[in-house]
Amino acid sequence: MSNNARPIKVAIVGGGCAAITTAFELTRPEHHGRYEVTVYQLGWRLGGKGASGRGPADRIEEHGLHLWMGFYENAFRLMRECYAELNRDPAHCPIADWRDAFVPAPLVGVADQLPNGQWSVFKGALPPTEGLPGDPPTSNQRWSVTDYVSRSMALLRTLIETIQQRDASSPEAPPRQSPDARSTSAVLEGISRLLQYGELATLAGLIQAISLLEVAFGSFSQYPENIIVRLLDAVASNARSILESRLEHDLGLRRVWQIIDVTLATLRGEIRFGVLTDPRGFDVIDEYDGREWLRLNGASETSLNSGWIRALYDFGFSYENGDTARPRISAAQAVRSVLRAFFTYRGAFFWRMQAGMGDVVFAPLYEVLKKRGVRFAFFHRLENVKLADPHLLQSGETPYVEALDFDVQADVTGGGEYQPLVDIRGLPCWPSRPDYSQLVDGERMARNGWEFESHWDRHKVRSKTLRVGEDFDFVVLGIGLGAVPYVGKELVARDPRWRAMVDHVRTVATQAFQIWMSADMKDLGWPDQPIAVSGFVEPFDTWADMRHLIRHETWQDTPRSLAYFCNVLPDLDGTDPHREPSYAAKQRESVRQNAIQFLNRDVVQLWPNATHLPGKFRWDVLVDPNGTTGPGPVANEARFNSQFWTANVNPTDRYALSLPGSGAYRISPLDGTYDNLTICGDWTACGFNAGCVEAAVMSGRLAAHALSQSPPLEDIVGYDHP
């Protein structure tokens, strides 16, 4: 009795990175059409949290800031395969190849507040590395524990040697060591001597200690662990006291020391907590908050409050309930992320997209999937996942999804599929509004302002129920975690693990705004290269210079600069968003005011010439796509209203956090409790439990594996990883 006769129908609900990746995997040519995929998406565009649109002047309007990182192996591989399959004609399309779509962005910045209250941006260009992300794996992958550790040691030694050279009073050369000095017993003797006789108080002693540590880490297993820990401790505290006085006046050096301090604390913690050797890898420290764990391992408070650490939290929106006074991130995921980000990036640390994420990622994926025969049902909003009645299950039968209830928001005239893309100077893009002309009763919907993407707008033209066996065989739930309590009520009520996941894996709303300006950045006081900076004030702690996007937009008076800002957005206190119909509007207004205040008061720290008068942003530089530009009597705050801002408060738009201890509650796409259901999204247990594109793509591949056993798990880069 074989089911090989007809294709297996897969209903994928959601159109974000994860869901689309699943569709891409299941429809690979190798499957020979075994899976018939339909993607159900609310509203008019794919992308989920990565969706973008084109507004007036064809300006790109994003949910927030999307930077891809050089370690996103799975995500880049997806995009490279997609572009290769799409085979666009470069003569007609400005973004034909993946290298047109993604460009290295090596300059990163971290904002630090100086003792006098001023802010300064510490810029660094991380060196380019071999290879490109998404390249096939090679046999000399750079990462190994001992490499990573000895690199940190070497960095510390260089730092101290630099200081030693400056310090004329101790020009000693380190003695050349005999081969036997490298033996375990010699090293141990050296270590105990150093610990005993206080030689570490000198720079020369420190250098020698670090050399010993390098050797020790090289053959880690041969040394009793507590002695290494003791030496690390001694090195750290001695280095700190020797260096602090010198570092007080040298800001650059101090920042490097802060990195070293945190690295030493991390190493120490990895030993003490058994991370380096435990089969569970970093998960053993999942319960701790990042800063808390580093503090336990001896990092100083100033290092913990440095821009780097703040940027780490900012990048992951890691604020419980969106409250910036409560930064919390799982130490396990934090260390894992830093390790991947800094030690395994290929090409560049960051990669920028050369148009909106929707244009660069989702439009090509949509086109490829269409070519492969995937069906798209836009304007379908999932209302409920209906499980089979447990009382009717036969003994030994696993629970399953019996039906999916949808609200159909709009019908397409003529009954065919909705055509979602628009052409903007040769590039297929997603618009910021649906194409009402394709919709039955479209004019009325436009007039009445139906908000298809809003959780609070319940308009529909009818309901529709899909049934197992008839309309689908498998379900892939690729909606955001925030929506699960609404559409997965049965799952949450009946399954304690789903309940626990919803309780422990939390989400936050985010806010963002974009401004187009007639002055260029140099004029505004930022003379450097385009940069992405984080760790700044709340809000908005993250700024990215996006001037490279302007040429893809269609302006009459072309702006000279473009800036994106984003931040976490706390929920309104004491309000249940679900029951408050004007919740979205209220939050949107908050964001507008936040942005205005930020531009008046704070941005001057980054762009010294942004204000002519203190506390008053140069509103006249803002470029209004619909008309008035330049100075004039109306050049006041109201000019901001012509710009773009967003409060991402829809449940599906909420960003998933990696709170301490929450990793254990995530459910994996591989989980087989329901024999025709899998899930995907960066909120699932996907191996890299952080809110980012890479996690989403990994989860999509896992979901595909759950249904088809392909791709092999070993093929999902970074899934098997400490």
């Binding site: 046999s139 033996s183 090289g218 050797t277 970093f282 036969q394 087989g672 098997d720």
Partner: protein
């Protein structure tokens, strides 16, 4: 809907990631020996012996760890040493936490086992399926002094020259990781198992010409007791082990 007709998801072999650090060391598909800087991405080629073996170790650890974590009902009796017949601490989690705190230097050692293989006397017993012969070369020298040099390949493509000067018959076993070539190496003096036996300290390793990248020289003085002497070859700068030397002085 008749459940027998309904299509169901396939049963999966594995549903959890492998989090042990061995994932960073396992070689991807390819004929090279495992490298110290192995990557976590594995090619889709058929798993090599080492792949299955190390994955089976991970599997084993996962199974036992999960078992211990779940804390069978009786596990509560074994939580502490101060056992009294009616002590009933039911916190299996406590056991799991304690498990996690045991510092097992498993990975580095396992790496060494996999890499250094059977040529390493006195360390691990020879794995039964790889035969009893050590992986490295062996050379004999006749009783009178003249040094004998033998050139034998160690590893896949590395030519090594071994020159032993000894008044007694000896057997030398050497195994060197391929990436040792081109690095500055030093070799520790060779020690016997017993502490009071004098070491063989006149032992050097050098990089000579392109043809024969490594030359190992050992001089055995008169009066050196019979037995097995081992030493590590390490990279000069980092101290990382790059191979082992083992010399056996045969009894008369």
């Amino acid at each position: 809907m008749n459940s027998h007709e309904r299509i169901k998801r396939p049963k999966l072999d594995r549903t959890q990631p492998i989090r042990s650090w061995s994932t960073l060391f396992t070689a991807p598909a390819g004929p090279e020996a495992t490298t110290a800087g192995g990557g976590a991405a594995h090619g889709p080629a058929a798993p090599s012996w080492n792949d299955v073996v190390s994955r089976s170790v991970d599997l084993g650890y996962r199974v036992i760890d999960e078992y211990m974590r779940q804390g069978q009902k009786a596990a509560q009796r074994f939580t502490d040493r101060s056992y009294t017949p009616d002590s009933m601490t039911s916190d299996a989690q406590e056991i799991g936490t304690r498990m996690a705190q045991y510092a097992s230097d498993f990975t580095a050692v396992w790496l060494e086992f996999l890499q250094l293989g059977a040529g390493n006397f006195g360390r691990w017993p020879t794995p039964p399926f790889e035969g009893a012969a050590p992986a490295g070369s062996a050379s004999r020298s006749a009783p009178p002094p003249p040094p004998s040099a033998a050139t034998e390949p160690a590893g896949t493509d590395t030519r090594v020259r071994v020159a032993v000067t000894s008044p007694y018959p000896t057997e030398v076993s050497l195994d060197v990781r391929p990436q040792a070539v081109g690095r500055r190496l030093i070799v520790q003096s060779l020690r016997a198992v017993t502490e009071d036996t004098p070491r063989l300290s006149d032992v050097t390793i050098e990089t000579t010409d392109a043809d024969t990248p490594l030359t190992l020289r050992i001089r055995v003085p008169a009066g050196q007791p019979a037995g097995v002497y081992n030493g590590l070859i390490v990279e000069e700068e980092s101290g990382k082990p790059m191979g082992t030397v083992s010399l056996r002085i045969l009894p008369e």
